[in-house]
Amino acid sequence: MTNKGNAAQTFTSEDSRVAARDQRSLWHDAFKRLVKNRAAVVGFIFVVSMVIAAIVGPNISQFSYEEQDYSRVNNPPFVMDIQKFSQEKFVDLIPEDFVKIGGVYFNQRHFLGTDDLGRDLLVRILYGARISLAVGFLAAIVSLFIGVFFGALAGYVGGFVDAQITRLIDTLYALPYMFFVILLMAVAGRSFYLLFIAIGAVSWLTTARIVRGQVISLKNSEFIEAARASGTGHAGILFYHLIPNTIGPIIVFFSLLIPRVMLEEAFLSYLGLGVQAPMSSWGSLVADAQNNVTLYPWMVIFPGLALTLTLFSLNFFGDGLRDALDPKLKGKQ
């Protein structure tokens, strides 16, 4: 008896000592694991710099995204031999624009060259970053709201409502929705707002499923009982108690949803169904330069690279976040 009591006592005092030494919540733990993941940190830094460049860049540049300069059409970012380039690619270069560094002539006026109308490619890429990133974040947020609403409703109310919402989600899952989005964009006009509403409206299904599952597993737990006993209404239970508890998986899903949505935006813009000229997005920049890719490859490569690196970073960050918030999953997917 005494032995057992002693053991229990030692354990509790040990426990409280640990707690006093280092307060570690779930979020604190997750943050520590995230910071240790080098790929995720690098990805995060890259995305943040891209966002800052997209916001600041077009404003401080001496060129605007729609300013055309017919004396500097199809100028490359760098060139080995100005004379030869002019003859082979049918481009008249102005030698003063180029500075020779180690045998290579770099374009000191337009760092990434110009497009077929003499517009500065760097500014157009940064301007395109605004559109691509904005569509990515906004569409993901739209889908998040729709998904959380329907998921929470189905999970909390249950019964008939749950059955109907689940059936709706299952039916929509079976639809080839990308074809609907293409059809919608093609027939209903190509506006920026329609773009993210269309994408957001079709990507909420998985969010709804995740939230529904979480809410169902939580709604009979003791702390919900306690809230109900203390007189909290349905709305209060849903918004103050249930939804905040689904936030972990939602954050992970959201961070991986953004690159997916950006990919869809790029896909639509590439097909000519996204933003319209003179505005640019990464997808439309590649599409515009597509026909002359054999002659002027830099117009395709730079926007393509910007898009790929951003998606790459977002995916790494999202993966890191998932590993940090749910270490059991690590390396499984």
Partner: protein, 306 residues
């Protein structure tokens, strides 16, 4: 099992009906029509043309006519854009190319993805694990049109091994199929690795090892089937996305496949051709999903159909 298949086919028919109905009304309710061009026809001619395509009747009647023709005659109607060619003909001509590219991409992605995933799983946490997985991360993140351009610039332009565009010969199919295949190979590799790692860590594998079975027997006889279940369930939606992806690949490599018809027809309000493309894509996707779900049960005995 038979009951399950019948039930799935019934569900597929319902889905197809929803697809047809939604896309029909979505197209019709949008402003503009197939004959509202810059150069307007005189009203009497326009009336004649519209009568020919039943466009003068009320919308619901048109919908009825369309459904009747599609369901009972498998006739997708005449194209309003390409005069005197039926949508069936146009789609058949484009489908030939899309199907070849899709098939090539499927074979390529499954082969490359499985190999990479198996190598990674068998060399867990070694160089041969990290290396293919890093590459697959690029494949997951890179949009197909960027990859297509890079492959084209390297293999067609710099090295001159393959044609830049066009599909006059077999070699013309390599780049489009490889582009499409590589994107999906990345996901397949990741799923294969995950599935295999999970199976290889289970007790029965340890028993098999303790029994003295060779690595090869363990791999082929005991683990491959179970480890590939996630890959199979991925393949249904993947094949569907390969078809949307082919829109892009066909544009980059200038191939007259289904994808080009689809986007152009939607923009030109060629109602019948756009509808026809959507229906063909939807039938393919639904059928493949049902097929994959049935195969799924054969691989994993724990899955029951009811």
């Amino acid at each position: 099992m038979l009951k399950y298949i019948l039930k799935r086919i019934g569900g597929g028919v319902v889905t197809l009906f929803i697809v047809i109905t939604l896309s029909f009304f979505m197209m019709r309710l949008a402003p503009g029509g197939p004959f509202s061009k810059d150069r307007a026809y005189p009203p009497e001619i326009l009336r004649n043309i519209e009568a020919k395509y039943h466009l003068d009747k009320p919308l619901l009647v048109q919908y009825g006519i369309y459904l009747e023709r599609v369901i009972f005659h498998f006739d997708l109607g005449p194209s309003t854009r390409y005069a005197d060619r039926s949508v069936n003909e146009l789609i058949a001509s484009g489908f030939e190319y899309s199907a070849r590219i899709g098939l090539g991409a499927l074979i390529f992605s499954v082969f490359v993805g499985l190999c990479a995933g198996l190598i990674a799983a068998l060399n867990h946490n070694k160089f041969l694990d990290y290396f293919p997985m890093s590459i697959s991360m690029i494949g997951v993140s890179m949009p197909d049109f960027v990859l297509a351009n890079i492959l084209m610039l390297v293999f067609a332009l710099q090295l001159g091994w393959l044609p830049v565009a066009g599909i006059d010969s077999f070699s013309g199919y390599i780049l489009p199929s490889a582009t499409l295949g590589l994107i999906f190979a990345s996901s397949i590799a990741r799923l294969t690795r995950g599935g295999m790692l999970e199976i290889l860590g289970q007790d029965f594998v340890r028993t098999a090892r303790a029994k003295g079975l060779s690595q090869r027997t363990i791999l082929w006889r005991h683990t491959l089937k179970g480890g590939l279940v996630p890959v199979v369930s991925y393949l249904g939606p993947a094949i569907a996305s390969m078809m949307t992806g082919s829109l892009i690949v066909e544009k980059v490599f200038n191939i007259p496949g289904l994808g080009r018809f689809f986007v152009d027809s939607a923009t030109n309000r060629d109602y019948t051709l756009a509808m026809g493309s959507v229906i063909v894509f939807a039938v393919l996707i639904i059928a493949l999903n049902i097929f994959v779900d049935c195969v799924y049960g054969l691989l994993d005995p724990r899955v029951t159909y009811d």
